[in-house]
C-alpha cells in the first residue's frame, strides 16, 4: 500500500544507481572479508549493493554520517532491532500464509501478520518520538511514519485487525472424538478433568516428581485440524465471514516506504554491530572529514579493520598507525623488514578511504580523507599457469592499465610488485613507474623493498616498518614516517652486540 507522500530514504539523499558487482580492489584490500562479516546473518536484506556503491558527493556522505551518528545511540539501535525482528516475523507469517492450503488458516495467518505489522509500526513511531534524533534522514522518515499512522487507511486497518483478533481469541469450542467420529459442539463451562485426577491422588504427594508430559513440536496444520476448523467456522459464521472479507480487502497493506526503511536501516545496524565487536579503549572509530580538493590527508591511530576484527575476538593486541601528507606530498613509499606490517598498512589506507566513501566511521581517533573517484590496487599474485605471459610482463600490463585509467583524483595501491626480476631491473623499472605516478598527481601507497625510490621526488614520503632493537625477531607492526636507510634491521642487531659506531667508540679504548 502506498500512502501519498514523497519517498524518504535513510541511505540516499538523492537517488543513485546501485553497483551489484563487487569492486575489483575488494579482494586485495580485504574488504570482501569485512563486508562478508558485516552482512553475515543478514542475507535476506540483500545489503551488498549498498556496500558496493561509493557515494558520488560529499553531501551524500555527510547525510549518511549523520544517520550513522544517530545510530550510535544504543537505545535507538535496540528499537530498530525490535522493529526488524517484528518485520521478519511478519514476513515469516506471510510466507506461512502463502504456503497454507487451508482457507481459514491462511486467512488467520495473514491476519496475524498484519497484527505484527501494525504493532511494529506503532511502537517504532512511539520510540522514535522519545528520542532526540538529529539526522535529516531519520527526521524525514519519522515524519513520514507519523503521517502514515494518522492516515485513514492505517487507522481503519488497525481497528479491524484488533477487533477481529479479539473476537477470535474469545471463542472456546468443544470437540468430541470417539473412534473415527469427530463432532463439534458449543462449549459449555466444565472443569478440567486432569485437575480432578490430580486432586484424588494429592494425598500421596511427598515431593516433586518427573514431568511425564510430552512436548509436541509445532507442526503445520493437517487436514483433520482443518476440518475441525471448518466446524468452528460453522459454529461462528459471522466472525469467520469477517475474516474472509478482511483477507480479500487488505492484500496490499504493506507500505513501500516502510518496507524500504526496514531494509536500508540494516546497513547502519550491521555496520554498528560489526564495529562494536572491534571497539576497545585503544581501538577507536571516527567520522572522517571529507576532502574534495586538498590532499593533505591524515589518519591517527588507524588500523586494518579486517585484521582487528579477527584479533579483537582473540583478545590479541592490535597495532595502530598514523599517517599524514602535507605540502604536495602524494606517495607513501613503505619499506622495511618483512612481516613488519607493510601490507597491513597499505590495506588499511585503502579500507579507510573506501569506508569513508560509503559514509561509515573509520578506524582511528581522527581522519581527513580524500574524496577519490576510483581505487586501483595491484598486489603480488602467484603466477597463473594458464597465462603464457611471464610474471613481470603481467605486472607491467596491469600497471599500465592502472595508469591509463587513473586520474589525479584516483588512489593507487601497489604491493611488492616487480619482484620477479633482477634488483637492477626492478630499480630501473620502479623509478620509471614512480615518475609516471608522480606526474599523474594521484594518491599512492607503494610497498617496495627499493629504498632508492624515495630520492626521486619530494612528493614521496618514506614509511618504514620497525623492529625492537633488543629483539629483532619481534615484529612491532609499527610503521613510522622516517627515511629508509636499509639499515634499520642491521642496526638493531649491531646494537644488540654492541658493535654500533657509538658502542664501538666507547668499547675501544683510546
Amino acid at each position: 500500500m502506498k500512502v501519498n507522500m514523497s519517498l524518504s530514504s535513510v541511505l540516499f539523499k538523492k537517488e543513485l544507481k546501485l553497483v551489484v558487482q563487487e569492486p575489483d580492489f575488494f579482494g586485495d584490500l580485504n574488504l570482501t572479508q569485512i563486508i562478508d562479516a558485516i552482512i553475515k546473518d543478514k542475507e535476506n536484506y540483500n545489503l551488498k549493493p549498498y556496500f558496493f556503491t561509493p557515494l558520488p558527493g560529499r553531501e551524500d556522505i555527510l547525510y549518511r554520517q549523520e544517520v550513522m551518528k544517530d545510530m550510535e545511540n544504543t537505545v535507538l539501535l535496540e528499537y530498530i532491532q525490535t522493529f526488524s525482528d517484528q518485520m521478519l516475523a511478519m514476513h515469516q507469517k506471510l510466507d506461512e500464509a502463502k504456503g497454507s492450503s487451508y482457507k481459514y488458516e491462511k486467512e488467520r495467518l495473514f491476519l496475524d501478520a498484519v497484527d505484527i505489522y501494525c504493532k511494529a509500526i506503532i511502537s517504532l513511531e512511539l520510540n522514535l518520538s522519545i528520542l532526540n534524533l538529529s539526522s535529516e534522514g531519520f527526521k524525514s522518515f519519522h515524519s513520514y511514519l507519523k503521517y502514515y499512522i494518522q492516515s485513514g487507511y492505517f487507522v481503519l486497518l488497525l481497528q479491524e485487525t484488533r477487533k477481529l483478533l479479539d473476537d477470535l481469541s474469545r471463542l472456546r469450542y468443544s470437540v468430541t472424538i470417539k473412534e473415527l467420529r469427530v463432532q463439534l459442539l458449543l462449549y459449555k463451562s466444565e472443569p478440567d478433568y486432569s485437575i480432578d485426577v490430580e486432586r484424588t491422588f494429592e494425598k500421596f504427594k511427598q515431593e516433586a516428581t518427573k514431568d511425564y508430559r510430552l512436548q509436541f513440536p509445532p507442526y503445520p496444520m493437517n487436514h483433520i485440524e482443518a476440518a475441525i476448523l471448518e466446524g468452528v467456522a460453522s459454529l461462528y459464521p459471522e466472525i469467520f465471514e469477517r475474516l474472509v472479507n478482511y483477507y480479500s480487502k487488505n492484500t496490499n497493506y504493506l507500505d513501500e516506504t516502510i518496507s524500504i526503511f526496514d531494509r536500508e536501516i540494516q546497513f547502519y545496524v550491521s555496520y554498528q554491530e560489526y564495529i562494536s565487536q572491534v571497539k576497545r579503549r585503544d581501538l577507536q572509530f571516527c567520522y572522517p572529514e571529507i576532502s574534495i580538493d586538498q590532499k593533505d590527508i591524515y589518519n591517527y591511530k588507524g588500523f586494518d579493520l579486517a585484521l582487528a576484527y579477527i584479533l579483537a575476538r582473540e583478545n590479541a593486541t592490535v597495532v595502530c598507525n598514523d599517517f599524514y601528507l602535507k605540502e604536495g606530498e602524494r606517495v607513501f613509499l613503505v619499506s622495511g623488514p618483512n612481516q613488519g606490517g607493510k601490507t597491513t598498512f597499505a590495506r588499511a589506507f585503502g579500507q579507510l578511504h573506501y569506508l569513508s566513501a560509503i559514509g561509515c566511521p573509520v578506524p582511528g581517533s581522527s581522519a581527513k580523507l580524500f574524496h577519490f573517484d576510483s581505487i586501483f590496487t595491484h598486489f603480488e599474485r602467484s603466477e597463473d599457469i594458464h597465462n603464457l605471459r611471464s610474471k613481470l610482463e603481467d605486472d607491467l600490463i596491469r600497471i599500465h592499465q592502472i595508469l591509463e585509467q587513473a586520474t589525479p583524483r584516483s588512489i593507487i595501491i601497489m604491493n611488492e610488485i616487480l619482484s620477479s626480476t633482477t634488483l637492477q631491473d626492478a630499480i630501473l623499472l620502479s623509478k620509471k613507474i614512480m615518475e609516471k605516478v608522480i606526474s599523474l598527481n594521484a594518491l599512492c601507497v607503494w610497498v617496495s623493498f627499493i629504498d632508492e625510490l624515495q630520492e626521486i621526488n619530494k612528493t614521496i614520503v618514506s614509511m618504514i616498518s620497525t623492529i625492537v632493537p633488543e629483539n629483532p625477531g619481534l615484529r612491532t607492526f609499527k610503521i613510522e614516517r622516517k627515511r629508509a636507510d636499509g639499515l634499520a634491521y642491521a642496526l638493531s642487531i649491531a646494537e644488540k652486540y654492541k658493535v654500533t659506531y657509538d658502542s664501538l667508540k666507547q668499547r675501544i679504548p683510546s
Binding site: E105, I177, R181, L185, F204, R213, V232
Partner: protein, 499 residues
C-alpha cells in the same frame, strides 16, 4: 500422607549429608559391625541403619522417647511390623515389574500404563488397610497410632470407590470431550479435557440440537495420515491427564518408599535385638537427659560390637559420672580401656538414634556432635610425621566443633615424648573442658593424667583398668588415680614368657 515414624513431624531426609567425620566414627567405634548385624545381608537395611545412626551424633530427648515407644511396639509385634514392611517392599517391587512409563513415547501409552499401575496400587493400598484394621489395637505408641488412624481415614471405602471411578473413566470408553481456543494461525490451543459420560453426551447433544445441526465428520479408515492426525489430537488432549495419573503413581510410590524407609530402621533394630539375645547380653532403653542436666551414669555398660564379634557376653562397666565433664581412663594395657571408650560412644549414638543400648541402666545427657580422636597407624604417605598428623587431625576437628559436643580420645598425642605430649594434651583438654564439652580420654600420658588429678576439680572422673594379682585382665574399670605404669611388662611376659 506422611509416615512420620522417625520424627514426630517430619520425614527422615535420606539425602542429608553424613557427618563430615563419618569415616572416623565408623572405624573408631566399629559401627560396621553394628550395621551388619542390623542389616542381615540386606543392603537396604544396611543403608538405612547407617544413615539413621550416623545422623544421630546429635539428638533431642523428645525424638528419642518418640522412637523408643515405637521400637517397644515393634518388639511386641514383630510379625505385624514384618508384614507391613513386606507390603511396602512388595509395592515397590511390583512397580519395577509393571511400570514401563519411562520408556513410552505417547501420552496414550503412558496413560494406559498408569491406569494398569494404579489398579495394582489400589490393591496394595487395600491390603495395607486390612492389615492395619486387624492389628491397630495392639499398638500403643504415638507414632503408630497416628499413622494407622491416618491411613484408616484416608484409605476409606469411599476413597477406593473414587479411585475406581477414575480408572473406569480414564479408559474413555465414551470417547473424549475436549475444549479449545483459537491461537495463532487458528491452531487449537489451551486444550482442556473434560469428563465425558454417555448421559452427558446425550445432554450436550440435546442442548445443541436446538441450534443448527451438529457439525460431524468421520475420518476414513483408509486415510492413514488422517487417522494418525486424529490420534495425535487425542494424544495431545490426554497429555495432561496422563501426566497427572503418572505423577500420582509416583507419589504413591514415594509414599511406600517412605513407609519402607522408616519401617526399615525398626526392622533392623529387631534384627539386632534377636542377635543380642543370642549372645545373652542384656539391653535396656536408656534415659536420655537434657544437656544441662549433665547426666552420665550407667551400669553394666558393654560394647555391643565386641559382643557381636565375640558372640558372647562381655563384662560391663559401671560409673556414676554425673556432672563430670571429663573422664580420664588410665591403667593396664589390654585392660578394656578402648573397649570401654567405644561402648561410651556407641551407646551415646544408639541412644540418640532412639535405640536400646548394651547396658542394664544407661542415663546420659544428649550431645550435639561426637568426635573421635584415636591413635592411628603410621602415616604411609610420608607427608607428615605422626605427631604432626595427630595435631592436624585435631585441627580439622576444631573446624567442626559445635556447642555440647562429645570427645573420645584414645591414646592421642602420644607420638612424641611424654612431657610434650602431656603438655599438648593438657592444653587441648583444658580448652574443651572450659568450653563445656564432654571429654573421655584414654591415655598412658602419666604427666597429663596426673596433672589433672593433682589439680582436680570435682568435674573430673578418673577410671583405671583393673589389674588383679594373677595378672589376668578382668576388663573391668574402677575409679582410681592414674598410676605411673600400664603393666606393659605383664604383656611382655605373657608373650615372651617368664625368663
Amino acid at each position: 500422607m506422611k509416615v512420620f515414624l522417625l520424627y514426630r513431624n517430619h520425614d527422615f531426609n535420606l539425602k542429608q549429608p553424613l557427618p563430615w567425620n563419618e569415616k572416623e566414627l565408623t572405624s573408631d567405634l566399629e559401627l560396621d559391625v553394628l550395621f551388619e548385624a542390623m542389616a542381615q545381608d540386606d543392603e537396604f537395611l544396611f543403608d538405612i541403619s547407617k544413615k539413621v545412626i550416623l545422623a544421630s551424633t546429635k539428638g533431642d530427648v523428645e525424638t528419642i522417647l518418640f522412637r523408643q515407644q515405637i521400637l517397644k511396639d515393634c518388639l511386641n509385634n514383630s510379625t505385624v511390623i514384618n508384614l507391613l514392611y513386606d507390603i511396602s517392599v512388595g509395592a515397590i517391587d511390583r512397580r519395577r515389574h509393571s511400570w514401563f512409563g519411562v520408556f513410552t513415547k505417547s501420552p496414550s501409552s503412558i496413560l494406559s500404563s498408569s491406569v494398569g499401575m494404579m489398579e495394582i496400587y489400589a490393591g496394595v493400598l487395600k491390603e495395607l488397610r486390612n492389615a492395619i484394621d486387624e492389628n491397630v489395637n495392639k499398638f500403643q505408641s504415638e507414632g503408630f497410632r497416628r499413622l494407622f488412624s491416618m491411613l484408616q481415614t484416608e484409605l476409606s471405602d469411599a476413597y477406593f470407590e473414587e479411585i475406581q471411578n477414575h480408572l473406569d473413566e480414564l479408559k474413555f470408553r465414551d470417547g473424549l470431550l475436549i475444549s479449545y481456543q483459537l491461537g495463532k494461525g487458528n491452531k487449537a490451543i489451551n486444550s482442556r479435557l473434560h469428563r465425558l459420560t454417555a448421559e452427558k453426551l446425550n445432554w450436550l447433544q440435546r442442548l445443541f440440537s436446538k441450534k443448527p445441526p451438529a457439525y460431524t465428520f468421520y475420518v476414513h479408515p483408509r486415510d492413514e495420515s488422517g487417522v494418525r492426525a486424529l490420534s495425535d489430537i487425542k494424544d495431545k488432549a490426554i497429555n495432561e491427564v496422563a501426566n497427572a495419573l503418572a505423577q500420582s503413581n509416583d507419589h504413591i510410590l514415594q509414599f511406600f518408599t517412605m513407609l519402607r524407609t522408616e519401617l526399615a530402621f525398626y526392622v533392623a533394630c529387631l534384627n539386632l535385638h534377636r542377635q543380642l539375645e543370642d549372645t545373652g547380653g542384656q539391653v535396656c532403653f536408656p534415659e536420655p537427659a537434657a544437656t544441662a542436666e549433665e547426666k552420665e551414669n550407667f551400669e553394666g555398660l558393654y560394647d555391643i560390637c565386641l559382643a557381636l564379634k565375640m558372640k558372647q557376653r562381655i563384662v560391663g562397666n559401671d560409673a556414676k559420672a554425673d556432672h563430670k565433664g571429663l573422664t580420664i581412663i588410665t591403667g593396664a594395657n589390654q585392660g578394656g580401656k578402648s573397649t570401654f571408650l567405644r561402648s561410651i560412644g556407641l551407646s551415646q549414638i544408639m541412644m540418640q538414634a532412639g535405640m536400646f543400648v548394651g547396658a542394664t541402666h544407661f542415663s546420659t545427657s544428649i550431645c550435639n556432635s561426637i568426635f573421635t580422636h584415636f591413635k592411628r597407624e603410621e602415616d604411609t604417605t610420608m607427608k607428615s610425621g605422626k605427631f604432626d598428623e595427630e595435631l592436624s587431625r585435631m585441627s580439622r576437628i576444631a573446624d567442626h566443633i559445635i556447642p555440647n559436643s562429645m570427645f573420645l580420645f584414645n591414646e592421642s598425642f602420644a607420638a612424641t615424648n611424654e612431657r610434650e605430649g602431656s603438655e599438648i594434651a593438657g592444653q587441648i583438654v583444658k580448652a574443651l573442658q572450659e568450653k563445656g564439652h564432654k571429654v573421655f580420654f584414654v591415655t598412658h600420658l602419666y604427666d597429663f593424667a596426673h596433672n589433672f588429678f593433682n589439680h582436680a576439680s570435682n568435674g573430673v572422673l578418673f577410671l583405671r583398668a583393673e589389674r588383679h594379682e594373677d595378672a589376668a585382665r578382668t576388663f573391668k574399670l574402677s575409679v582410681g588415680e592414674p598410676l605411673s605404669t600400664s603393666y606393659g611388662l605383664d604383656i611382655y611376659k605373657n608373650i615372651f614368657g617368664n625368663e
